[in-house]
């Protein structure tokens, strides 16, 4: 509980007097004046004015690369182990056989040049930016080579039979990290000193060994240092672009109790909880596994993620299966709504004539418009604590297959139906980022040296929903019996696989393949077809037959649909409002919401009041997007009445955002401060507070807020900008350096121009640029 906060209904021995905010809400209800509404929110949060007395801060600047730049790797301990020792796994395996075996299956163990995907990408960087730039990659992928200054300096710079190029992120690398920083790009300090070897039965030596190798104290930061990456002028590029960034999404999510986008009720989870669950050690090797607990279990070092290709490339069916199982828990899929569209494939304003939620049955006479029938397909990241798909966002190939089928199951029309085999399929909706070069051309092969701007990001933040509209022209509806939807996943695009496959057939590629065979006893063949995993599916019967489109409660389906529609362009926010009002009606009128039975549920079991509060918050977001601030604040005030205690951070966060949008900074600032206190891991919360204080002219306060946020995300451009403005206003000598930092890491000035250029020359870009966009179903080729 934050300082000064009134307790809410717990532990009272006398009849509790409601907090003032709640009393106000009761007395005045939705007719409250705006100021009173904000008071309801503020008083309920127990906000206080922060203490101000502290010395003036200087600039908090992002770390600059050192000896191993562009990577941010640092080395501690002076002379110690060399690269070969770091790459040595066999010694570790003598006492940790089970863990070492798990690691052998992991993608971590194939992080280096033995991996043809990595090798191909590094070759691209080297060709475009020069050999020194490859240290950007080496800081996380190639420690054994980095500490020997042996990252390739040219085509002949590395022997294919060099052990250091085949062990990736080895035991000694992870367990040698002594400090980890939040910057990313390998922002950790490695202690390369020789690890003290324990002597069986010698407790003191075991303790020394454990002390030297334990990374438990680092927690998630160990993962952060490499699972956050960015491109910048440090790499010789003209602009800064954020790349892989799991920590920002995870820290700002309900999995870290720092979600502010919605009221949610998921349990806290860390990287280790999800990717390194405990696993029983097989009895046969239990005696050879020193790290197993009394229950015979260890933290799994398989580090299962979504990389089915890597597992399949080496023929590891078990790891493929484990990975696919994890993927299938990631998302939910629903054909959430259907309705008419006009001749230009637009839904009527207010979704007039739409069925919310969609249920099996023949579309009524009003369901087909001049442009045909549309269905809204909703995908939700139900179980992944970072963006889904995660990792490097432009490389994944997760797409929707939508088919309009007849009674015999034959596809009459579809979208994405040929994507599995056609690398140039532009009709499918793909969950990825679109990155363009300096001319606005979409880059499809992860040519990072040419990256200039991100045009669109259709990956899903934790617990976020996304909607895609599919339009079936009226002439294709004849004989249609159902709409079927599948979300399918392949680790990498076919374009990238073609490049990797070609490289593997070169003499260098063959040589490395032999090296991998020698050291790892596997044959890596990147030309084999990648596994395709069906993550989820749904079916909407148009003929009244078949199962219901979703077993989940109607309110959940409509709630997710509305949530997803809030990402549409501004003038379509009214669609989200319509849908969420429907969700509100359902959640008010229906039976108590129940958890979904079995499988991945997008919505954990929640109390009826909480469900209502959840819908109200999303409805407030939609109404607020339409500029109706006071009405949105009213909805939030009611949400607060119904929400569990303590008040979820989503409520003050949205209120602060709404107030900031209309420049009511005095009211926004205390709410933003409350959000920071409740969701300290959320970078966006720090941005909101810093902006509010800066807008009020509280430069010292803005600087403090910026500092706190930069501690989480050192290159967040919004925070760097506020810091620079504040220091300049305070006439601090660090002001020029702060401005230079903002200038270095801000979004490229040409971003908007590149979006326009891309949309002009690429239909995919023009379509995908828009959130909640529409795809037109194309006739399927006749079946022979």
């Amino acid at each position: 509980m934050i300082a000064g906060q009134a307790p809410h209904g717990r532990g009272a021995t006398t009849p509790a007097r409601p907090p003032r905010g709640r009393a106000l809400a009761r007395r005045r209800g939705p007719g409250l004046g705006t100021g009173a509404l904000v008071l309801v929110l503020v008083v309920g949060l127990g906000l206080t004015t922060p203490a101000r007395a502290e010395p003036t801060l200087g600039a908090r600047l992002p770390a600059a690369p050192g000896r191993y730049g562009p990577s941010l790797l640092e080395l501690a301990g002076g002379a110690g182990a060399g690269g070969v020792e770091l790459a040595d796994v066999e010694t570790c395996a003598t006492c940790h056989a089970a863990v070492a075996a798990q690691w052998q299956a992991s993608a971590h163990s194939f992080a280096s040049f033995g991996n043809p995907i990595y090798r191909s990408n590094v070759a691209g960087v080297r060709a475009a930016l020069g050999a020194p730039a490859t240290r950007h990659c080496g800081g996380c992928h190639d420690l054994p080579l980095m500490i020997d200054d042996a990252m390739p300096t040219g085509d002949a710079g590395l022997a294919a039979d060099d052990l250091r190029a085949h062990q990736g992120v080895s035991c000694r690398v992870c367990h040698g990290v002594r400090a980890a920083r939040v910057d990313g790009n390998g922002s950790y300090t490695l202690d390369a000193a020789t690890v003290p070897t324990p002597t069986p039965g010698d407790a003191a030596s075991l303790a020394r060994h454990r002390a030297a190798t334990s990374v438990r104290a680092l927690g998630a930061e160990l993962c952060v240092s490499c699972h956050r990456g960015f491109l910048s002028p440090d790499l010789g590029l003209p602009a800064h672009l954020s790349g892989i960034d799991e920590p920002t999404a995870w820290r700002g999510s309900p999995y870290q109790a720092s979600g502010t986008a919605r009221i949610d009720a998921v349990a806290a989870r860390t990287c280790v909880d999800c990717h390194m669950p405990e696993e029983a050690v097989a009895a046969a090797v239990r005696d050879d596994e020193a790290s197993a607990g009394a229950d015979g279990r260890v933290r799994s070092h398989r580090v299962v993620g979504g990389h089915t290709w890597m597992a399949a490339m080496r023929g590891d069916a078990d790891h493929v299966a484990r990975t696919q199982a994890a993927l299938r828990d990631a998302v939910t899929l629903d054909v959430a709504a259907l309705g008419p569209v006009d001749a230009s494939a637009q839904a009527p304003p207010g979704l007039t004539g739409w069925v919310l939620p969609a249920e099996r049955g023949r579309p009524g006479p009003g369901a087909v418009g001049a442009g045909g029938l549309a269905v809204d397909v909703v995908i939700r990241n139900a179980g992944v604590g970072h963006r889904f798909p995660g990792g490097v966002l432009d490389m994944h190939d997760t797409w929707l297959e939508v088919a309009l089928v007849d009674g015999a199951g034959r596809a009459l029309a579809g979208s994405g139906l040929r994507h599995a085999a056609d690398p140039d399929d532009d009709e499918a909706h793909v969950l990825r980022t679109l990155v363009v070069d300096e001319d606005g051309r979409v880059l499809r092969q992860h040519e990072l040296a040419r990256f200039r701007a991100v045009i669109a990001n259709h990956t899903l933040a934790p617990r976020e929903a996304q909607v895609v509209r599919f339009v079936a022209p009226a002439e294709l509806l004849r004989g249609a019996a159902a709409v079927t939807v599948r979300l399918r996943h392949r680790s990498r695009t076919l374009h990238q696989q073609a490049v990797v496959c070609a490289e593997s057939r070169t003499p260098v590629g063959r040589a490395f393949a032999r090296g991998t065979g020698d050291y790892r006893d596997v044959v890596l063949d990147p030309c084999r077809p990648q596994p395709i995993t069906e993550l989820a599916s749904a079916r909407l019967g148009l003929d009244g037959a078949g199962p219901a489109p979703s077993p989940r409660p109607a309110w959940v389906r409509v709630y997710e649909h509305g949530m997803a529609l809030t990402a549409a362009i501004g003038e379509r926010a009214a669609e989200a409002e319509v849908v969420l009002r429907r969700a509100l009606a359902l959640v008010l009128a229906g039976p108590a919401p129940a958890p979904a039975a079995g499988g991945a549920s997008a919505e954990p079991a929640v109390a009826p009041a909480t469900a209502r509060a959840m819908v109200l918050v999303q409805l407030a977001a939609a109404v607020g997007r339409l500029g109706r601030t006071d009405e949105a604040l009213t909805l939030l005030a009611w949400a607060r009445v119904l929400a569990p205690r303590p008040t979820p951070a989503a409520i003050p966060a949205l209120a602060a955002e709404l107030l900031a949008r209309v420049w009511r900074w005095q009211e926004a600032a205390p709410l933003a401060r409350a959000v920071v206190e409740r969701a300290p891991g959320n970078t966006g919360a720090h941005v909101a507070l810093a902006r509010a204080l800066s807008s009020l002219g509280d430069d010292a306060g803005a600087l403090r807020a910026a500092h706190a946020g930069l501690a989480l995300a050192p290159r967040e451009p919004e925070l760097l900008r506020v810091q620079a403005i504040a220091l300049a206003a305070l006439e601090h000598p660090d002001a020029p350096a702060a401005l230079a930092a903002f200038d270095r890491f801000r979004a490229p000035d040409v971003s908007s121009e590149l979006r326009i250029a891309c949309a002009r020359q690429s239909p995919v870009c023009a379509r995908e640029r828009e959130g909640a966009h529409a795809h037109l179903l194309s006739p399927s080729p006749p079946v022979d």
Partner: protein, 538 residues
Amino acid sequence: MKTGMRRWTLAAAMALAAAGVTAGGSERAEAFCGFYVSGAGGEMFNDATQVVLMRMGTRTVLSMQNNYKGPPSAFALVIPVPVVLQEADVKTLPAEVFKKIDQMGAPRLVEYWEQDPCQPDYEREASGGRGVAFSAAPMEADKASKDDLGVTVEAQFTVGEYEIVILSAKDSTGLETWLQQEKYQIPAGAEPLLRPYVSGGSKFFVAKVNPDKVTFADGRAQLSPLRFHYDHDDFSLPIRLGLANSSGTQDLIVNILAPGQRYEVGNRPNVTIPTNLDVKNEVRERFGEFYAALFDRTMEKNPGAVVTEYAWQATTCDPCPGPQLDYHDLATLGADVLAGERGQVSAYQGWDFVHTRMHARYGKDNADDLVFKQAAPIIGGREVWSGGWDDVNRTLEERSKPAGTNAFQGRYAIRHTWTGPIACDKPKRGRWGGPPDGGGGGVKPALDLAFAPRGQAKLEAFVAGDVPELAVKATSATAPVDPAGATPPPAPVVEPMGKRKSGCGCSSDAGGGRAVLAAALVLLVLGRRRRRQEAGRR
């Protein structure tokens, strides 16, 4: 930096702020999305702005025409934008295109003469009973516009009276410093207004004006229209900066052109102007004054509303107060930078633009940015009668109503009843068309509405019939009227008139507020019940 701020003098008037200052007196001012700065000090005002927005997908093209009232020395417009513009994103436009679109969307006055009740029906029967409007000849108008305007967008970066300077994101963080370096002065009170823009990451472009290239009349200069475009998810019009420090009321007319799409505002009530009203003969000379009264009454009935005055296919009209927009006009206003349709990579060449015209009037305490939302098509204000010519009870289309296509306008008619001989057994009354002498009628648009006389006459005195939606009872409700008798007056010419609109045939609650309140009451009850249950458990 603060020191610099303190040095600023009251030299620049924040965009509409300036307008607001004048609005406190007898003048009115229109909105402006930026502010003026100068090196010489002195008060500077902007009292007339027109805005045309073109929107498709995430692309917005914003064109605006401003005037300037202040010292005839070097000054500049400073305009915040959401992204850093590139040189090619900023252009100047010919003023003619603004006149054209203003004329096209403006409320119009038409005159009709009752036709000889004994005349055979001829074409009227074939045309389904529609009346004859006094339209300009569309084809001729189209030809004229092509000849006159051609491809009109100027590509030069320094053009006419402007030298355009686009500040980078870095420079934008130090806007005041930059302006100081450029020897411009900003009002001392500007800091709290500018700060949120700067803190929020707005970018700026500056249009320096060379006074030697501007013609001043009565201390005013009409500046060349500016156009810029950008890519953004939100579709809104920032007006707050312009209103800061304003103590008065602002008028703003927003024209939106979008393929196949009408727009409304999402954050205020929307109303359509009462239309198809018959008015008295004197309105011919006082159309602006009449419309101002109608508009003001509409706003009284719908406080805070934004009034839709026009929603029509952009390249057609009926009646036409002037030449229609043609492709060159659309290209001038932004179609050249809209992406093509699905699968196309060329500039947008569709002819399906819908022209929506909205009129807002607001004060300092209601100056949130206008947020636009998509709206369904409406019709209204046409010379469309229910029933056939023989139906004595037929009525003229009233107000606005949903339809499959957009065809709504604010249209007001002076009707001259037949006063000639009636020499047949079954005269057919109520057939309206051109003057008896066979000459063409006229269509008069209401232009320069910001300067319309106000408060000098009552609406009741202007209308020939009641206007129930505004609770207006005509002082003489005997419509149609015919003060002119059999000799029609000369066809009115199109001329500027000060006027405002009114309206409100169709009102919509912007927020579904009642539903919210109802839901909230239910929630309150549920919340109380829950708390009682919790208390019981405890």
